[in-house]
Structures are given as C-alpha cells and as structure tokens.
C-alpha cells in the first residue's frame, strides 16, 4: 500500500500554475489567439447551421407524424374506467399522465371527408393532442365546444388565425352520433379554436366535462372484464403517459401494466412518431457520412491551426521543459489554451449559426411537404445547441491532441533550433538515403525541385491541405453536376401537360390519405367557362373500385399477368403473399375507373390496338392500361387484357356492364391520380358511359389550355379562386412548376454553395496556415539562404511555387475525384429521379482552378512579405541565442 503511494507520488497542486501560464500564452499571442478563435467560431458556425436545419426538419417531421398519430404522448392506454385511471395517475414513475374521453363523432355530409371525433380532454391531453385552443379556452358549460379551423372550413366558414377571436362566442350547429348510436342535433357555443392539420387522421371537437358526463358517462365496469359489453368505447377513458426515459417504450409499458395492476390485455397504443423508429438504415448511413464529413472539415481547420500554434511556440515550450515542466504538464498547457479559446469561439459561432440556419431553413423547407401547420420558423432546441457545442468541443479536443503531444515530446535542445521537417525525418533515414542516392548528383537546384522538397517535409500536412481543398471542389462539382442533370422540361411536363389544371387540394398531396376524387365544383366550371381565351378543356372523372373478375376475365388476367414469369420475377419477393392472398383467392383487384371526355382521350397514349374516337364515344368499348414492370420506363409492359377481350366492369353503385377492349393506353402522370396501387390497373370509359355506370360525378381533374395573351390573367384568377373562393381546390400551371423547379434547384444551389463556400474557406485557411507555418519555422533557414546568396526574389519564387504545387495537386486529385463522384455518386443518386438526366461535367473545376492558382500564388507572396520584415541579421540571431 505504502509503496504504491510512493510510486505515484503525492498529488501536486499545480493546476493553478498551468492555468496561469496557459492564460498568459493566450493573452500574449493576441493575433494567434484570434486566428484560433475564428477557426473555432467557423467550425461551430458550420455545425450549428447544419444542426439547426437538420434538427428543425427532424422535429417538424416528428410533429407531422405526431399529428397523424394524434398525440405527442409516448403511449396511450385505451378504454379504461375511473378506477384503472386512478391507478396510473397515482404511479410516481411517470413523467406525465393525461386523459381524454371519446364521446362521439360528428356526422353530416360536410364531414364525410373530414373525420371528426368528439372528446372531452383535460388540459394536458388537449395540448399533447394538438387540439388546445389557440384562441379562447377549453369548454366548461355543457353547450361549449372547441373546434379546429378545418371543421369550421368544412361548414363553409372562412378561417384565418387572426379571425379566431371574432368567431369566439358565436354558435355552431353540429350533428353527432353518440353512445348506442344515439344522435344529437344541437347548437353549441364556440369557446376556443385551434388550427387543424389535414395530416391528422381525424379532427377533434372538444366538449365540456358536463357534456361528457351527460351523454357518455364513464362506466364503472372494466372493459377488460369478460362479459361486459365490449363494443362500447364512448365514455371510456384514454390515458396518455410520458415516461422519463424516451426509449424502450414497449418495455416501460409492460412494466407499468404489471406495477399498477392493470389487466394484461389492456389495449395500448405506442407512439410510432418516436424518433428512433422512423429512421431507416439508408438515411442513417447518409446522416453518419454527413456527420463524418462535417467533423473532418472541422478537424481540418482546427488541427492545422493548432499545429501552427504549437510550432511557433515550440521554442518557449522547450524552455518551459528546461526549467522543469513535465510532459504531462505541457500537454495540459496546450489543451488548456484550447479551452480558453473555445468559449469565445463557441459564442461567436453559435449565434451566427442559428441565424444562418434560420435564413436557410425556409429555402430548404419550401421543398419538403411535411404538413399544413409546419411553418418555416426555426425550432431552436437546446439540444441542438448543446449538440453543436459538444461537437465543436470534441473537434477542438481531438484536433489539439496531436499538437499537444508534439509540444510535450519536444526536447529542450532541439526546440531551440526547431525547423520544420527535421524532426519527422529521423525514422526514415535508410529509405531516404537510398532514394536520394540515385539522383543526388544529377538533380540541380531549381525553383520547382526546391518547392517539391519543401512540400515533402511534412507529407501529412501537405495531404491535409490538398484534401481540404479537394473536398470543397468535389462538393461544388457534385452539386453543380446534379443541378445540371435536372431536366426542367421533363419535370414540368410530368406535372402539367396543359397550361392549367385544377383539382381538389388533397388529390396530389402525398401526405394525405383520404383524397377527394370529385374536387372540381360545378360553380368553378361555370365561372371558368366565362373566362376568355380558353382553347381546350377536358374533364377527368374517377372512382376507385374493387373489381371481382368473372371466371373468364380472371382466367385471362391470371394467364397473362399472374403466371407470367417476367411478372413473378419482379414480384418474387412478396409475390407469394400478394398473388395468392389478394388476387388468386379473391379473384379481384383494385381498379381505378376513369371517365374521359374527347380532349382527355386525345391526350392518352395508345400503346396497343387502335383508338377509333367516334366508335369509342358511341359506347360499348373500354380502354385499359398495361402493367408496368418498372414504373418509369415504357418498356417491359405486360398487358392485363388485349384488344378484343370482353371484360365486365362493376361500379361502386353496383351496376355491372360488359365492354370490349378497344386499345391499350397509358395516361400521362400529370392527369392521373398521382399514387400507385400494387398492380395499378386502370379502365377508361367515355364520359357518358361513365356517368351511366357510376352515377353523376363532378370531375376529379379539369385541364385546359389558354391563349398565350390570357395566360397571366388566368394565372391570377386561378390563384385567387383557389385561395379565396374555394380554398379546398388547388391549381397547377406550367408557371407554378417552373417556379417549383427553380425553388428546388435553388435550394440545392444555396445549401451546396454554402457548404462549398465554408469548405473552400477552410481549405484556404489551411493553405494559408500551412504556408505561414512553413515560412515561420523556416525563417532562420531562409535567412541563411539569403546570407549565402539566395535573393528575396528567388525565395518568393520558391515559396509561390510551393503554393502552386498545392493548387496543381488539388487540381489533379480534385479532377479525378470529381469525375469519380460524378460517375459513381451523382449518377446513382439520380437513378430514382425521373426528371434526372445525368450529364458529366467538370466545369466547376475548370472555373475554380485558375482562381485557385491565382490565390495560391498570391497568398504565399503576401505571407512572405509580411513575415520577412525582420532583417537577415535579426533572423540569423535566432539560431545563436
């Protein structure tokens, strides 16, 4: 025991001394400290900006999912009675417990497409469920309710957030279906309004406790006791809980059930919006690669700056060692200096980082459809800030580790004479000598060979500089070739084949599950008809059906498609399930039945057979599409039916009629429902035939062309109509998509440009740093060279040549890497994008290269001029003192 203590020695109280020395160093070398602070700030800026954007998008995505789920709570226990609720409420291991009670559902034609539930909810639950009133308060009296803006809209009221206040206190008539199918029809008073989101699976109308107790009193019996009426859920309590730890929800739920003595069969809903569950491997991979890139670029700046700092202080470190500072203490000294500079660096970096993030976020968000209520404001999350700071801290500490060791390992004698490169050479004597033997005598002095030698002094550092310069070049080139590969015509063509198109807003919104296929109103069509300049106009009608095939039809379908080896190849992975369960057993398939008018017909692409327009319109015929093996190519089509086949079609109204297949067609993406079902079967009937079979519908989509001179006017009218008159409708036009395309490419350009800019700055900082160190540590050597007759001009030439070498190396390696990235990465990134036509380019390299050469020539010149102000004699004295 005693021995160990002796061996390790008593703990010295020397921290304060080292801290003082570190502080002195930081304050004494103001310029150097500034450079480091700037480097750290730049790094932190980079991290914070990216994390702010990333974090905001993530949290918005999460909120969007939470809105779909209906709550932010981690888990919900369903159909409980008061006694069971009390058990959970009394559980001290839970962070938060809240409850709501379903009372009924709002009915009426207006709500057919907007599922609206009636709940009583406590305050916390309302907040977690996104239904807490933004204006007004929760209901207290029996006739008071809180509604969402979407409910009001469904009832034909115009709602903007600033008008909420005016609507409070007004009365609202609602019909509801309550317990035991009982209906209620009455007036309510609005006490609160919140903004609804179409992403939610259902809207919530909040009623008072008094209302709930009157119409849906909570039963005393437990839902989970066998023998009670299992169907009744109204009046039962739904309890939402949040745990202290945000992971392993399932495990925590299980232990809660056991701990609180709930019935093991209690139904539990777990929130799948929790972050971890929603990230797939590919995304995770991209995120990790991104983080590594960011970390590397941060490391590149700070590490290099730190090395320089240590190099230029190395004499005094040697001195400190002579007077007895230990290795450990020296290491600590360097790290402490980093610590002192970290704080101002963080402060300077985080604030502009947040600003940068909030400026960029709208640009990025513009191109993501998340949900109606997701704004473009930055969510400043403490975690994001802490994470950025921690990331910077980590980068700084990792970056100064090696320089710290370098400082610690210096020998006091060598430090005084320290010249770059000498220390690193020792281990490689033999190899070097051999290498040099061959060319020592015939290699004459030249500016270039001198520069090459200087560059080789510290290969690692040279590699770092080239790498950091190359990195920005590669990103710039990748971004540019990506943008160049985006084909605007292809993009616009897909979404609008005509000048304008109108449909319900839900139709083309991928975030919406319940689409409205009859969204073009008669009043819109009437008003449109009165507008000048309309040249062509077409209407498209559609209903989703489930076609049970007759034995004959199925035999054809089975023969041509399901048994087709090409098809089974594609579907082999889940073919068994898909084919046997859905198609083979039920002999049926979902089919979109379209009604088309003449103009629409003209826009269909006939792929097999002949389309005789007049014959088709006269009735008795049908057009069908083919199965696409690959969604985006015209090849690999497998027909379901062939021209001449007779197939029967059953509408949702139950009418059945037999038609002869006239031709096989393909409908442009811009017209169809923009989603795919498994087999994606489509039937096309003439307008009249469609009405006959499926009943009178309003169009799903109306398309039209407008004379050029009326286009701007029409654009304005459409915009106004779809925002003010019928906000449930949406329109698209070439203009809209052209702007869309521009926004999209601009986002990539801005984000990519910023990244490139920062990386280029890092690269140049590194280059400058490298040259400064190289010149600083060679001051003596350069002075001596001057003494033996190397003129200043020759020295400048040699140093500029060194800079030029960096540019050349970067240019060569950069070009190779850029080409590689373009061919491998960019091309493959675009594979999934139909508006992507890969084009190879090294344009950015060609443009940037001359600029880089100028900078690499100019920079060393300036640095040399600045550092060589001292006279030769003064510099020569460095060696002797």
């Amino acid at each position: 025991m005693k021995n160990t203590k002796k061996a390790s020695g008593p703990k010295l109280q020397n921290k304060a001394v080292i801290r003082k020395v570190a502080k002195d160093y930081v304050l004494k070398n103001r310029m150097k400290s500034m450079v480091i602070v700037i480097a750290i700030a730049l790094c932190t800026f980079l991290f914070t900006t990216l994390f702010t954007i990333g974090g905001s998008i993530l949290s918005k995505l999460q909120e969007s999912t939470q809105r779909q789920v209906g709550t932010t709570a981690a888990a919900g226990f369903k159909y409980l009675n008061e006694e069971e609720y009390e058990k959970i409420a009394a559980d001290s291991n839970l962070k938060e417990v809240s409850r709501y009670i379903p009372v009924g559902e709002v009915t009426g034609t207006e709500f057919l497409k907007l599922r609206t539930e009636v709940h009583w909810s406590d305050e916390v639950s309302a907040k977690k469920g996104f239904s807490y009133p933004e204006a007004g308060k929760l209901p207290e009296k029996e006739d008071e309710i809180v509604v969402s803006s979407l409910v009001l809209q469904a009832l034909g009221m115009q709602t903007k957030p600033e008008d909420y206040g005016k609507l409070l206190g007004s009365s609202l008539h609602l019909s509801m279906e309550l317990k035991d199918q009982e209906t209620l029809d009455r007036d309510f008073t609005i006490t609160g309004i919140y903004t609804g989101d179409r992403v939610s699976s259902s809207q919530i109308v909040l009623v008072s406790k008094a209302f709930q107790e009157k119409y849906a009193p909570t039963p005393l019996t437990s839902y989970y006791d066998r023998g009670t009426d299992l169907d009744e859920i109204y009046g039962r309590i739904s309890v939402d809980v949040d745990f202290y730890l945000p992971f392993n929800t399932a495990g925590q739920v299980a232990s809660l059930i056991e701990r609180d003595g709930l019935n093991p069969e209690t139904e539990v809903g777990m929130n799948w919006a929790s972050l971890t569950g929603s990230m797939d491997l590919a995304t995770l991979g991209i995120v990790i690669v991104m983080l590594i890139t960011i970390f590397t670029s941060g490391y590149l700046i700070i590490n290099n700056v730190y090395r320089i700092n240590v190099y230029s202080d190395i004499r005094s470190y040697g001195l400190l060692k002579t007077i007895g500072m230990s290795k450990k203490q020296l290491e600590k000294l360097v790290r402490m200096q980093a610590g002192y500079l970290l704080i101002p660096g963080l402060v300077l970096g985080i604030l502009p980082g947040i600003l940068g993030g909030s400026l960029l976020l709208p640009v990025v968000m513009n191109n993501l459809s998340i949900s109606d209520t997701a704004g473009t404001n930055v969510q400043i999350n403490v975690w994001v800030l802490l994470f950025s700071a921690a990331f910077s801290y980590m980068t700084v500490m990792v970056s100064c580790k090696k320089p710290a060791r370098l400082a610690a390992s210096v020998s006091p004698i060598e430090a005084a004479k320290y010249t770059e490169g000498v220390m690193h050479r020792k281990g490689k004597k033999a190899k070097k000598q051999k290498e040099q033997k061959n060319n020592a005598q015939n290699k004459r002095y030249s500016t270039f060979s001198f520069a090459v030698k200087n560059m080789k002094r510290d290969r690692k550092k040279a590699a770092l500089v080239v790498l950091s310069l190359t990195l920005s070049l590669v990103i710039l080139n990748s971004v540019y070739s990506m943008i160049r590969s985006f084909d605007e015509d292809k993009y616009v063509e897909r979404f609008v084949a005509t000048d304008f198109a109108a449909a319900d807003a839900t139709l083309d919104n991928p975030a919406v599950r319940e689409r409205n296929y009859e969204g073009v109103s008669i009043s819109f069509l009437d008003e449109l008809a009165g507008k000048p300049g309309i040249e062509d106009l077409g209407n498209l009608y559609m209903e989703e059906t489930f076609q049970e095939f007759t034995d004959e039809d199925f035999a054809l379908f089975n023969e041509r498609l399901l048994k087709n080896p090409d098809f089974t190849d594609v579907y082999s992975w889940d073919g068994e399930f898909l084919l046997s369960k859905v198609y083979r057993e039920s002999k049926a398939s979902p089919v979109d039945v379209y009604g088309v008018d003449r103009f629409m017909l003209e826009n269909l692409k006939v792929q097999k057979g002949e389309l005789d327009m007049e014959k088709f319109l006269s009735g008795g015929y049908i057009l069908v599409n083919q199965y696409h093996m690959e969604l985006e190519s015209d090849k690999d089509m497998i027909p379901y039916f062939l021209p001449g086949d007779k197939i029967s079609v059953t509408s949702n109204e139950g009418k059945t009629k037999t038609y002869e297949v006239m031709a096989l067609v393909d409908i442009p993406y811009a017209f169809r429902v923009q989603r795919y079902t498994e087999l994606d079967m489509q039937y096309f009937l003439p307008e009249n035939e469609y009405f006959d079979l499926c009943g009178q519908h309003t169009p799903m989509r109306t398309i039209f062309n407008v004379a050029d001179e009326h286009e701007a006017e029409m654009e304005k009218w459409m915009k106004e109509y779809t925002t003010k008159v019928e906000p449930t409708m949406d329109y698209t036009s070439r203009e809209v998509y052209k702007n869309d395309f521009k926004d999209f490419t601009q986002m990539i350009l801005i984000v990519g440009g910023l990244l490139t800019g920062i990386l280029a700055l890092i690269g140049l900082l590194n280059l400058a740093n490298t040259l400064i160190t190289s010149i600083m540590t060679r001051r003596l050597e350069l002075a001596m060279l001057e003494a033996v007759g190397m003129t200043k001009k020759m020295q400048i030439r040699a140093i500029c040549a060194e800079g030029l070498l960096y540019a050349l190396l970067t240019g060569i390696i950069g070009s190779i890497l850029c080409a590689l990235f373009s061919v491998v990465l960019v091309r493959n990134l675009g594979v999934g994008m139909w508006y992507f036509a890969w084009k190879f380019t090294l344009m950015p390299v060609a443009v940037v290269f001359p600029v880089m050469i100028l900078i690499t020539l100019f920079l060393p010149y300036v640095i040399y001029k600045k550092t060589m102000k001292e006279s030769v004699v003064a510099r020569l004295r460095l060696a002797d003192n």
């Binding site: 000498v422 020792k426 040099q436 020592a440 001596m784 003494a787 007759g789 060696a879």
Partner: protein, 220 residues
C-alpha cells in the same frame, strides 16, 4: 594585394536611452590569402563587424570595399547576388538546409547563381574536408563537426573573394574545434582563400596568421 578594406565603420542600434553603439569607427584592411582572426568578448561588436563586412547588415556610416567594390552602393538584391559570388559564410550554428543532401548544400550557392558546379573542384573540396562518404547524407544525419565541415565546403565551393566565419567552432567541443580549425586553415591555404574569422576563444584565434582585438566597437 588588398582584397577587403573598411573605413570609418559605425553602427548604432536604437536611439535615446536604448541607444547602443556597436561599432564606433572601425578601419581595417585585409590582404588576399590572409587568415585574419578578430577576437573580442561578448558584446564587443565583433559579430556586428562581421555582418557588416558580409553585407548582411548596413552600417550607420562608413564604407566596405571588397575586391574593389563599395558593397553598400549596391541595392539589396544586387548585394545578395554579390554575396553569393564573392563572399562565403560559415556560421556558428552551421545553417544547412535540412531538406538538401550534403552535396546539394555545398553546390547551392553556385546553382543559385545559375552556374554549373565544377564537379572536379567540388569533389576535391569534399575530399579535402573528409566528406566523401557523407555526400548523400542529410544534415540531420551528421555530427556537429561534420555539419561545420559541410558549411566550410559550401563557403569554398563558389571560390569567393573572402570567407567570413562567425564563431565557427562555437557549437563544437574542443577536440572537434581543433580539427575544424585545422581544416579551415589548410583548405584556405590550398585554395588560396582569404578568411576573416571572429571568435572569443584566444586559443582558436592563435591559429590565424594575424589577430586583431575589438573592444566596445573599436579595434585596439
């Protein structure tokens, strides 16, 4: 024949209270082929004298004439070029270029001047200084004495008008110092070189043909 002459050389550093008179009117004449040593204590002004003679530092007043040329009438660039053609330096701390081999270091001043080194001559110098085995070595692989021999070879290689040696043995132990001094003297004679050497070591100074003493910026 006079190869170097200086007249009324003064050098003042700083001004006011911090003013230091490093040289206070030095007159000196050195003949071709002479080996002159300048002795003085630390702070006597001997290093300043040598730097000024070599054109590394400009005097406050006075002239330095080497091979008939008033060197301070030259501009900086021209002076540097003059230096590499006419003056060879040997420093206390050797001052070799670490990334170059011994051979490359030795021929550097010649090549800097755009000339091809006379190989036979260089080989002869290398041989005389006992560096034949070390031609392809790097400075960091050499001992102090060897490094100083390389520096002497470098000074000789360009056949300058004069070699200025600044405490050439200052960083060497006494045995090595004797060796290096011996070589300096021998090669000086063999290649008919004029050498001006400063030192604080009387014993070393005695090896020169002539010794002058400098105190407080004046020759005594």
């Amino acid at each position: 024949m006079e190869i170097l002459r200086c007249e009324g050389l003064t050098k003042t550093y700083g001004s006011g209270e911090t003013k230091v008179d490093a040289l206070r009117g030095v007159d000196l004449s050195v003949n071709k082929g002479e080996f002159l040593s300048v002795v003085g204590t630390s702070g006597s002004g001997k290093s300043t004298l040598l730097h000024t003679l070599g054109g590394l530092d400009r005097p406050t007043s006075g002239k330095v004439i080497i091979d008939g040329k008033d060197i301070f009438s030259l501009k900086d660039e021209a002076l540097t070029i003059f230096r590499r053609r006419k003056i060879g330096f040997v420093f206390q701390s050797f001052n070799l270029v670490p990334v170059m081999t011994v051979y490359e270091n030795i021929v550097l001043p010649i090549e800097l001047d755009g000339d091809k080194p006379d190989k036979a001559f260089v080989e002869q110098i290398i041989d005389t200084l006992g560096l034949t085995n070390k031609k392809n070595a790097y400075p960091s692989q050499l001992s102090g004495g060897q490094q100083q021999r390389v520096a002497i070879a470098r000074a000789l290689s360009s056949t300058p008008a004069i070699i200025l040696a600044d405490e050439p043995t200052g960083n060497l132990d006494s045995k090595t110092s004797q060796d290096v001094m011996g070589l300096l003297k021998v090669t000086g004679q063999q290649f008919a070189q004029t050498i001006v050497m400063i030192t604080h070591n009387e014993e070393i100074a005695q090896m020169a043909d002539r010794t002058i003493r400098i105190e407080d910026g004046l020759i005594v």
